[in-house]
Symmetry: C2
Subunit: 408 residues, 2 copies
C-alpha cells in the first residue's frame, strides 16, 4: 500500500502557510504501515487539480486530499473529485444538521455558501466534522481510494483521528503496523550520542534507531515494523535496554515529555513547592512552569529581578555582594535562590542570572550564566557556558534549570 | 513565467519535518512576480525524482529543487538532475576550497563524502554556499531552468538571498514586481473587519486586500503588481488611507510589528519604566517583553503572584480586599498594579489576574480576566471575557496588556 497527499490551496503556493497537514498525515500513515511516496500542493484551480488527481491515481492506492471544502467559490475539491470520478453531488443530511446546529447556537441564519459544506459526493463514505462545518468523505474508483479532508489543521486532525484512521485500518487490516518509541536526552550532544551508539545505529535494521537534535536536547527514535504487539514491545524494550546501558544517565523521558513537565511531576510527587528569581530569563522559567495545568500546586511564585536595584530592594540581596562579586556570579545566584525561597516560603528556590546578549554585561560575555538552587539542605549554583542567540540562551538556561530540579 | 518547487527528502514523507522551504521560496517568488503552480515532495529515490522532474518540465519555466545535496549516499539530487539533462558531474574548485577551509578551522580532515558536496553539474552556474558546505547550482535545457539548493533552511535561505534572487531577476528582467504591505489590527475580529471593508475587498483588483486572522489579531495584506516603485507605493498609500478611514482605530502597526514591540518603543520614547504583577499569566508578559533586545531600559522587573499568600506577603495586598472582592476583581487588579509600581519604583505598573483554566477558580469561569494599570495619574482596570484554551487565554491577556500600554 502506498499513498500520496494532495493539499489544495492557493495560500500554500503563495507561501502564506506551510503544508503542515501533509506532515501530520504522513506521520500518521507511517504509524499505520502505509508508505507515502509523494506530496503535491496545487492552488484553487480545477484543471490543475484534475491533472494532479489523474497523475496520483496512476501511482497510489490511496490519495488523501486536504483543503478546498470551504464555503467560498474558490473551494472546489469536492466538485473536482466528483467530476474526475463521474459522480454527482448531493446534500448529506447529518452534516447539514451539524451546520444548522452550529448557526442556531450563535443565533445566525445558515447561508447558502455554508450549506455547500454539507455537500458530499454521492456514494461516498461521509466523515462528520466534529470540529467545524465541512464534512469529509472517502470514495473510490476501481484502482484508487480518494479521501477528502478539510484544510484547517484542527478540523483535519480531529477528523483523521475519529474517522480516517479506522477507515484506513479497515481497508488494509494486514498492513504491517509500525510502532515507534522516542527517548529524550538532555546534557549530551547529538554527535556524542551518535558516537556512543554508532554500531547499533549502523547495524540495526528492525527496530531501527534514529537520533535527532532538538533545541539543545537529543531524541532517539526506535522504530519497528511488526504486526504482533507484544513482540514489537519486547523488541523495543530490548533495544532501549542496550541504549540505556550506554547513555542512560542522560535519558530523562519519552515521547512528548518535556524537562519542565518532568520537573512538575517530581515536585508534585515530593509535595515540594518552588519559587523562582529570574534575571536573564525574564520570567521564562515561571511562564513555562505555569503554562502546565496543575502548576499551581507546586509553584509558589516568582520575582523578575532585571536590575540590581530590584535584586536589593525586592529580593534583599546585599549591595556589597553585588559590588564585590557582580550580579553574574556564583554567590549572587545562590543568594537569589535562598532569598526567593524565604520570601515566597517555598521548599525550593531557583535562580537565573547571566548574560542573554546580544551585548556583554558587567564585562561578562553572552552565554555566561549561573543557575542557583536553594533547598532545605543548603544551596549551590552551576555555571553554564551557552552559545547562540538571546532567545536560545534563555531557552537553554531554563532547560538547565528544569534539569537541575529533576536531580535535586 | 511560472515555477514549481520540488523538495527532496524521505524525512518530509515520513512527516518528521514540514516543507517550510517550499513556503519560503513561494513567498520570495511571489515578490519577484513569478507564479508558483505546484509544490512536489519526493523521497530520496532516484527514479521517483526523475519522474517528478519530467512532469515538472512539461509545465514550468523554472523548477527549484531543495535537498539531496548532502554528503551521504541518500543524497542524489545533483546526480539525478545531471542524468536527466544528460550532463556530467565534476568538482567545483571554489566550493571545494570552501569545504577545506571549514574542516581546517575545526582541525578535521575532509572526508570523501564531504568532498562530494563540492560536485557540480558541468556547465551549470554554481551558487556558493555561505552558510554550509554543499554548493547550489542552476542549469537548463531548451525549455526549463533547474535550480538546485541545499535542504537545511538556513543554508537555503542564505543562498536564495545571495545568489538565487539576482539570478532569477536577471532571467526575467521584465517580470512585474509584486509589492505588498501588511497592516496589523487589534481589538477587532476578522469578520467585523471584513464587513467594514467588504466593498473594497470585493472590487479592488490591483492593489488587492486580503484579511487574515492571527492569534487574536487581524492582518490585512495589500498587494500590488506594478513595475514602477513610486507608483506602487502611491497606490498602496491611497488604499491604506481608505482603510484607515474605516478601521484606523484598530490599526497598531505594520508587517512584523508586534503589540509588545510597539509598547516597548513607546515606553522608550517616553522614558517610562514598567513593572508587572502577574497572576494567571505566570510570567508570560515579563518574558515576552524581556525577549526583546533593549527591554532592560524600560523593564523594572516583575513579580509572579500565583497565590493569595504571595499577593499579601510579597506584594502587600490587603487580606481584607482579597477576602471581600476576591483575587479576580477590579480592586485586586488595580491594587496589584499600584503595589508593583511602588515596590519596583517604576513609572507604570501593570497587573494580570483572572482564570486561565482549565477549571474555574473562586467561582469564576476560565477567561474571566482583569488587567490593571497604574500610572502617576491614577489606576484603572479592564475586564476581559476571553475564550479558548489555557494557553490562548494567557496569550490574549498579555496582548491586551501590551495594547493598554500603547494607549496609556
Amino acid at each position: 500500500m502506498n499513498a500520496e497527499i494532495i493539499a489544495v490551496g492557493s495560500e500554500l503556493l503563495l507561501g502564506q502557510i506551510a503544508n503542515t497537514n501533509g506532515q501530520y498525515i504522513s506521520k500518521e500513515l507511517a504509524l499505520l504501515g502505509i508508505d507515502v511516496y509523494r506530496h503535491t500542493v496545487v492552488g484553487d484551480n480545477a484543471s490543475r487539480l484534475r491533472e494532479a488527481l489523474a497523475e496520483a491515481e496512476e501511482r497510489a492506492d490511496i490519495v488523501i486530499l486536504t483543503g478546498g471544502l470551504g464555503p467560498t467559490d474558490d473551494d472546489l475539491t469536492r466538485e473536482t473529485v466528483a467530476a474526475h470520478l463521474g459522480k454527482k453531488i448531493a446534500v448529506h443530511s447529518p452534516s447539514l444538521e451539524n451546520i444548522e446546529t452550529f448557526f442556531a447556537k450563535s443565533k445566525r441564519a445558515v447561508t447558502a455558501s455554508n450549506r455547500k459544506q454539507a455537500h458530499h459526493i454521492v456514494g461516498s463514505n461521509v466523515f462528520l466534522n466534529q470540529a467545524g462545518l465541512a464534512c469529509g468523505m472517502a470514495c473510490s474508483n476501481e484502482r484508487t481510494h480518494f479521501l477528502l479532508l478539510p484544510g484547517p489543521p484542527r478540523e483535519m486532525k480531529a477528523m483523521f483521528q475519529a474517522s480516517v484512521k479506522p477507515y484506513i485500518k479497515n481497508l488494509y487490516p494486514k498492513a504491517k503496523a509500525v510502532r515507534s518509541r522516542v527517548l529524550r536526552f538532555f546534557g549530551i550532544g547529538e554527535s556524542s550520542l551518535e558516537d556512543q551508539l554508532k554500531d547499533l545505529i549502523e547495524t540495526q535494521t528492525n527496530p531501527t534507531l534514529a537520533p535527532l537534535a532538538e533545541e539543545g536536547e537529543v531524541t532517539l527514535r526506535l522504530t519497528i515494523k511488526e504486526q504482533d504487539r507484544d513482540l514489537a514491545i519486547k523488541s523495543l524494550d530490548d533495544l532501549e535496554c542496550k541504549v540505556r546501558q550506554r547513555v542512560g544517565d542522560y535519558l530523562y523521558g519519552y515521547g512528548e515529555d518535556t524537562l519542565m513537565g518532568k520537573a512538575l511531576e517530581l515536585l508534585k510527587e515530593k509535595e515540594w513547592t518552588v519559587a523562582a528569581a529570574e534575571s536573564l530569563t525574564g520570567g521564562l522559567f515561571s511562564q513555562e512552569l505555569t503554562s502546565l495545568p496543575g502548576a499551581s500546586s507546586v509553584f509558589a511564585g516568582g520575582v523578575i529581578t532585571y536590575t540590581n536595584e530590584v535584586k536589593e530592594n525586592v529580593l534583599g540581596i546585599d549591595s556589597l555582594l553585588l559590588e564585590r562579586d557582580g550580579a553574574v556570579s556564583e554567590n549572587c545566584a545562590k543568594k537569589m535562590a535562598e532569598q526567593v525561597k524565604e520570601k515566597f516560603k517555598s521548599s525550593i528556590g531557583i535562580s537565573f542570572t547571566g548574560v542573554a546578549g546580544p551585548g556583554a554585561h558587567e564585562g561578562k560575555l553572552p552565554g555566561d550564566v549561573w543557575v542557583g538552587v536553594a533547598t532545605p539542605e543548603g544551596s549551590f549554583a552551576k555555571n553554564l557556558t551557552l552559545s547562540g542567540s538571546r532567545s536560545t540562551i534563555r531557552i537553554q538556561t531554563v532547560k538547565h534549570g528544569a534539569h537541575l530540579l529533576l536531580k535535586v
